[in-house]
């Protein structure tokens, strides 16, 4: 299986951290807050689309709200498959940085 890209890892992490409130705006916001990266919606949704096609995330429609001009929020949750993939990615990362443990210190 292909490894997750950094973008995918970031998004998965964001969804997990947001628990029940993970939808487009909030995902983008938390990524911006935590990592400083500003995602374009085009980029975000392309990645979300790919993640859901690979069954790393599932979608669920929320309630209709007036402030979104009648469009329903779509909430994302990470599947167990997605969690596994993310863990694998973390292990890989850790292994990489363990090669040169002193490098990060300064």
């Amino acid at each position: 299986m292909r490894e997750l890209t950094v973008l995918e890892q970031t998004i998965l992490a964001a969804i997990i951290s947001l628990e029940d409130d993970a939808y487009g705006v909030s995902i983008r916001k938390i990524i911006r807050k935590k990592t400083g990266k500003v995602l374009m919606y085009g980029t975000l949704y392309r990645a979300l689309d790919q993640l859901s096609r690979k069954a790393f995330v599932t979608r669920k429609k929320g309630k209709e709200t007036t402030e979104r001009d009648g469009s329903k929020k779509v909430y994302y949750t990470v599947t167990s498959k997605g969690k596994k993939a993310l863990q694998a990615a973390y292990k890989l990362q850790k292994a990489i940085w363990d090669i040169i443990p002193d490098f990060i210190a300064d």
Binding site: V25, R28, M40, Y41, G42, Y45, R46, R68, S71, K72
Partner: protein, 868 residues
């Protein structure tokens, strides 16, 4: 939360909704709205607006990539099939794409030209408010582009409505020396510093306005600076005009764009004008161009209404002048000069809006032909693919998928054709430019309309030609298709025939047009102008004070010239017989009420004989009558008739209410101006000193030797004359250059259109012949002859062609008579022209058709019947 909800930009939202991924399923639209509101509240609506658009536009490419990524497999298959089809029908695809590409290329080229012509003078910043003052003389139909010199100053003084006014005047053919080098310059401008307030002429070096107040400075364009000084610093260098006057280079301007009605390459202050021309700066004579820049919000009509009062004050100085004899001044928007103005004394030859209309319609017609052709062939071909559609349907293709496939395929084809056509345009443009003497560029960045045009051609032609097979074939029942009961595709036949007929109507109109233009040009060439054109060499001496020595000794010059055996005769004159336009003296005969405006020429004894102008009554100027030098005049028949003179020879005529001229002879009417204009009354004076032209009649033998003898002789009298000769017949035909170019261009486009139309016909016959292979085979087995079968296959097309002819004739007749009206002397559009164009089209079309028909008719029926 604000009370009123803010809505994101409608268009962007609409755009987003096309990308279904982003709007519904994934709820991206909602996210965007939510965040849009947030941003609008915090940082203002404007920022939010831009942000929204940016997000939407950014999403497009990623969306497309995504689509391709997942829809990839099917897409690849469609692409492969499309290319295979192209390869399978090589000749068909070639015809199809080539014809279409040629059509689009022609269209783009013409549109580039049209756009260029329409863009004249548009680059000036205040172009809407820049006007030229033009004058109208009492009793004259054509206005003058020139006005009196003091007008600009009077305008500046009198009218607070204008920002500025300036005059300028061009001087042609001038020799400029720079050290040892001599250059002959085509145009030098005398300008006032205010010119730079009115027009946008950016400076590169030097302060232009102060430069033009110092009488001894000169301004050069960038290219002139390079021509004279190369890499050296031009400012401060000296240029010598007319061997006497030294001018210091004080400013460099950017090269003015080619789409200007005047292009300044060299300019000196207007103060110098009298020195160069000997013309005084009075109100009486019109010789400068006056421009003004209006203040904002002032209408030109308001200003025009104040002109009579201005003229009363300055020109007539409140004296008693009859209202009907007064000049009238008008304002002309500078933008309209290039295409709408044909006044006396224009700076350059202007184009005509009529030709712009003509060319635009030709361009459009060619595009239509090309599109029709393309659609015709594509639909015809697509029917052969019904079997493929059948199979696709059997294995489970949905109708929507098939539609997508066909439309996508035709979009691909159109795209290829457009790429080819753009290549053609880029390759042909230099030639086209050279021919038109324009500097058109094919620049997509500068001309966004080109991109729009190309995209819309792709979409329109692609969708239209793809929609027939897409909608029709995809709706067929697979069982029927596979049993091949619908292979004739009869429902498209009528449509295709109408399309082909339309195509030929357009082609015939263009061919007839070309023929009419050709005939008219031949008519001009061969028309007896009333004077001779052959074997005459013309030397031009433009300026009044120039070459005094030569002018004072002109009789000696002539005697010198005649010593050479190759020179038959020599004569001098102010104007050449094909272009007598100067002056407009008022003539009156016995009846003082009859005042005739004539054109004047100043000639010597030999002019009339040299040009073979016929004297019908009386005699020519003669050396035997010394009194001829004083007051003798020659009139033409038209002048005699208009002055209502009887037995004119020997009588006196009053000129401008002051002088009297004694009529010694009457000239037979000749065409003293181009054939666009009727013959005008003429008056000839004897005055060799006002010469501008020396005409030399030479014998046909040893022309080079004769020419070099002429050069040596002239050099003796005018050492600094840059020897340049012209042949009169060439000068004469140059007057019809626009028409000749038009004729050639029209011919080229007519040719192109018939080629495209025939390609279409060829393809169509190829297709029908292919469809009817079996029928032909059976007919042959039953005993039909080859001719019989050819008739069956091509008879119908011929019928439609004839129909096209009958529809085309009235259209061609109407439009070409309109064009011919611009000539005072013209041909009649005869039936012969129509017969010729019909037979031409029929001939070409039948050749096209018969190639395929004969091939089908002579084929062995065994081959065609064994086909199953």
């Amino acid at each position: 939360m604000s009370k009123k909800p803010v809505h994101p930009p409608y268009l962007a939202k609409k755009l987003l909704s096309f990308m279904r991924h982003y709007s519904e399923e994934y709820s991206c639209g909602g996210d965007l709205v939510e965040e849009y509101r947030g941003i609008a509240k915090e940082r203002g609506k404007c920022v939010a607006y831009l942000w929204y658009w940016w997000q939407v536009l950014y999403a497009i490419p990623t969306y497309i990539l995504l689509q391709i990524e997942f829809g990839g497999t099917m897409f690849k298959n469609y692409f492969k099939i499309a290319l295979r089809n192209m390869k399978k029908n090589k000749s068909f695809s070639f015809i199809n794409i080539a014809g279409f590409a040629a059509g689009i290329a022609a269209f783009i080229l013409i549109m580039l030209y049209v756009q260029y012509e329409l863009s004249f003078d548009n680059y000036h910043k205040n172009v809407e408010r820049i006007f030229r003052v033009v004058a109208e003389f009492p009793g004259e139909s054509n206005r003058d582009a020139t006005t009196p010199a003091p007008l600009a100053e009077a305008l500046r003084d009198e009218f607070p409505e204008i920002v500025s006014a300036a005059k300028m005047r061009d001087l042609n053919n001038l020799v400029i020396a720079c050290g040892e080098k001599n250059f002959r310059e085509r145009q030098l401008f005398f300008i006032e510093p205010e010119v730079f307030d009115i027009f946008s002429i950016p400076s590169i070096k030097g302060d232009l306005k102060t430069a033009m107040t110092d009488p001894f400075s000169i301004i050069l364009s960038e290219r002139m600076a390079e021509k004279y000084f190369g890499e050296e610093e031009p400012i401060g260098k000296i240029l010598t005009l007319r061997e006497r006057y030294n001018y210091k280079v004080a400013g460099i301007i950017e090269n003015m764009p080619g789409n200007s009605h005047f292009v300044i390459d060299l300019a000196i202050p207007f103060i110098n004008f009298s020195r160069f021309s000997g013309v005084g700066q009075r109100w009486g004579s019109n010789f400068v161009h006056t421009y003004l820049l209006m203040r904002e919000g002032i209408s030109p009509e308001d200003l025009e209404r104040k002109f009579p009062r201005l003229l009363d004050k300055y020109m007539y100085q409140n004296s008693e002048t009859e209202e009907s004899m007064k000049h009238k001044y008008f304002l002309q928007p500078v933008k309209s000069i290039h295409l709408h103005s044909h006044y006396n004394g224009e700076i350059n030859v202007n184009n005509d809006i009529k030709y712009i209309y003509l060319f635009s319609s030709v361009a459009f017609l060619i595009l239509v032909i090309a599109c029709i052709n393309y659609m015709n062939l594509s639909t015809a071909r697509s029917i052969q693919r019904s079997r493929e559609v059948g199979i696709r349907k059997v294995v489970g293709a949905m109708k929507g998928q098939l539609i997508k496939q066909f439309i996508g395929e035709s979009l691909l084809f159109t795209f290829i054709a457009v790429v080819v056509s753009v290549t053609i345009v880029i390759l042909v443009l230099p030639v086209f430019n050279g021919f038109l003497e324009r500097d058109l560029t094919f620049n997509l960045v500068k001309n966004p309309w080109l991109i729009l045009l190309i995209v819309s051609i792709i979409l329109f032609a692609g969708l239209f030609s793809g929609s027939y097979p897409a909608l029709y074939i995809s709706s067929l029942k697979p069982a029927g298709i596979l049993k091949s009961t619908v292979s004739r595709g009869s429902s498209g036949v009528l449509l295709r025939k109408i399309l082909v007929t339309t195509q030929f109507i357009i082609t015939i109109v263009l061919i007839t047009g070309t023929l009419v233009i050709r005939y008219q040009l031949n008519f001009i060439k061969n028309k007896d102008m009333g004077f001779e054109k052959e074997q005459i060499v013309v030397l031009h001496f433009s300026i009044r004070n120039d070459y005094d020595y030569l002018k004072n000794n002109i009789e000696t010059v002539k005697t010198e010239l005649l010593k050479h055996s190759g020179i038959v005769s020599a004569a001098v004159s102010k104007c050449l017989p094909n272009n007598i336009f100067v002056g407009r003296p008022r003539l009156s005969g016995h009846e003082p009420d009859v005042i005739v405006r004539a054109r004047a020429n100043w000639i010597d004894y030999d002019f009339i004989d040299l040009y073979g102008i016929e004297i019908t009554e009386g005699r020519n100027f003669s050396r035997e009558f010394p009194s001829d030098r004083e007051s003798a005049v020659l009139l033409n028949e038209k002048a005699v008739k208009e002055c209502k003179l009887e037995f004119p020879v020997g009588k006196n005529i009053t000129i401008n209410n002051r002088q009297t001229g004694k009529i010694i002879g009457i000239m037979k009417d000749f065409h003293s101006q181009s054939l666009h204009r009727p013959i005008e009354p003429l008056i000839f004076y004897y005055e060799p000193r006002s010469l501008e032209y020396i005409s030399i009649k030479i014998s046909a033998a040893q022309i080079p030797a004769t020419l070099s003898y002429i050069e040596q002789t002239i050099k003796k009298f005018a050492p600094n004359y840059p020897f340049e000769y012209q042949f009169f017949d060439e000068m004469f035909s140059r007057a019809y250059k626009t028409e000749q170019k038009l004729g050639k261009l029209f011919g080229a486009f007519a040719f192109l259109s018939i080629v495209i139309a025939c390609l279409g016909l060829f393809g169509l016959v190829m297709f029908t012949a292919g469809q009817r292979t079996k029928e032909v085979g059976i007919r042959k087995v039953l005993g039909a002859g080859v001719l019989n079968i050819i008739w069956i296959l091509s008879g119908e097309f011929t019928k439609w062609l004839l129909v096209a002819n009958f529809i085309a004739f009235p259209i061609a007749y109407y439009s070409m008579s309109k064009w011919l009206q611009s000539f005072a002397y013209r041909i009649n559009i005869s039936l012969g022209i129509f017969i010729l164009s019909t037979s031409l089209t029929l001939f070409i079309a039948i050749i096209t058709i018969s190639y395929q028909s004969i091939k089908a008719a002579t084929a062995n029926p065994v081959d065609s019947l064994r086909y199953e």
